[in-house]
Symmetry: none
Subunit: 288 residues, 2 copies
């Protein structure tokens, strides 16, 4: 029913044969997939340059898939574009789809789109309202710490997990307080002055996180809180507090803004610590 364009068919064919392709042609394949939409405007030379190969390699690629040359293959993408550009954009199609599956009042995919839009709105706000002085302080707090503890439970656990992972690429010692074996207390035992705790929590605040913050303060460690408001229990127990307002749709809370903020924090920190980017990522075999 969903009529596949010849371009789709070609891309699938490329995916199937991909593994059997020589090195350079694999590079071309990857490029085509990634830049699918702009192939129709580009010249062989530009594509070749983008792949870091010679123009003739691109032509060979096209020929390998049955076309007389690059030009003929390019036409496939052009046609696919003109075909989908003319029917008055997705809006009418989308409405038609809604009518088709009338079993469900709203197709699930529509839900997903709304959610993504909400997340976008959330990120826009983050970009707009980033509190620079606090962000700066947060970085300095981390930069100064010898050991960094990270805590976050339930919904925030994924974030804590990520922060802990990212920080492993610095020289700091990083401790993810995950409560494995019920050992929250034990994992926090040795936090002390000069260390930092990053606590991520949103209402209703997890008691494990609040506990960790109290302990950290008692031990005179610095606390960085990531939460949604200056009010609430985290404010009192933290030295720096970063706010994130998540967009939400369908009474379901996003997490993308928080993730983004944390990544931004890490990138900025890495920059400040003058880590080379190579050092922070991709060390070959063990990366994912």
């Amino acid at each position: 029913m969903a009529k596949r364009s010849e371009a789709d068919a070609l891309m699938q064919r490329i995916a199937e044969e991909f593994e059997a392709l020589p090195r350079q042609l694999q590079g071309v394949a990857r490029y085509l997939e990634e830049h699918r939409s702009s192939i129709m405007v580009q010249r062989v030379g530009e594509i070749a340059e983008g792949c870091g190969v010679h123009a003739s390699a691109v032509v060979r690629f096209a020929q390998r898939f049955g076309y007389s040359g690059f030009t003929e293959m390019q036409a496939v993408f052009r046609n696919a574009w003109t075909a989908q550009a003319s029917p008055a954009r997705s809006y009418q199609q989308r409405i038609r789809k809604v009518i088709e599956d009338r079993d469900s009042a709203m197709p699930a995919v529509e839900i997903a789109s709304r959610f993504i839009d909400a997340s976008r709105a959330g990120l826009d706000e983050l970009a707009h309202e980033l509190d620079e002085p606090r962000f700066q302080k947060a970085m300095e707090l981390l930069a100064a710490a010898e050991n960094i503890y990270v805590v976050g439970v339930r919904r925030s656990f994924a974030i804590a997990t990520y922060i802990a992972y990212a920080l492993q690429h610095t020289q700091k010692r990083v401790h993810l307080v995950d409560g494995l074996g019920g050992m929250y207390r034990e994992q926090l035992r040795s936090i002390r002055k000069g260390d930092a705790l990053i606590a991520i929590s949103f209402p209703p605040f997890g008691k494990e996180t609040l506990y960790a913050m109290r302990v950290a303060q008692q031990h005179r460690a610095n606390v960085l809180a990531i939460t949604e408001s200056d009010l609430g229990p985290l404010a009192r127990h933290s030295d720096v507090l970063l706010k994130v307002k998540e967009g939400s749709a369908f009474a379901f809370r996003g997490l993308t803004s928080t993730m983004c903020l944390c990544q931004a924090l890490f990138v900025a920190l890495a920059y400040k610590l003058e880590l080379t980017v190579e050092e922070t990522i991709s060390r070959g075999e063990y990366d994912d």
Copy 2:
């Protein structure tokens, strides 16, 4: 702030001078306005034919507006298009340049802002290019599963963690394959037909994830892969593959789009399974 592209400026200039133009050139002007979006793919000849004029007339038109020839004018439209078709890409390139000039002591906070902007562009692209049929299939695959296994290592582990958390709010049995105690093999032992595996992985692909996918396939479970490309090793071992293109400014890979996609997937699934949202979140005391 929405700075007008050069193409916009040109179109306006054309409108202003329109009356003073000779008959044929007026025809060209009309054609350009009407087919503005497809000028970038068309050859002079095609456009000339579309206007019912000679090719040289089109060239003269371009020259009249200050360009050396048609080619130069066409470039204006091409640039305008590529800038809006993949906002993420153009953004990243700009950022990368700024970073490379370390001399210009850019405050770390500035870096963070740029990173957030790049993430925004990434989300825009996600919203724009979501592959609806596949997304639908992915949901059905999950909805049909009795047990859901989730695997992702290193950078993708945080995402796996989140998915596992979110799915706990459904009736499914959820198994996070975390390899604790080196027990990847053991944790996957009992996966079987009717189950589903969600595998999140980006190049360079973690061998643990690939292993999990192979095992799942051998046991005839369905595999949902979340990765960045149809090519590469995940394609062959998966039943449904969802693509996420993460922006990587700073040679540092984003994760926000992936997070957003996964959340969208969950929201849509919850809707499909007719979970009330109240049920899916916030059950009081234990939430965070």
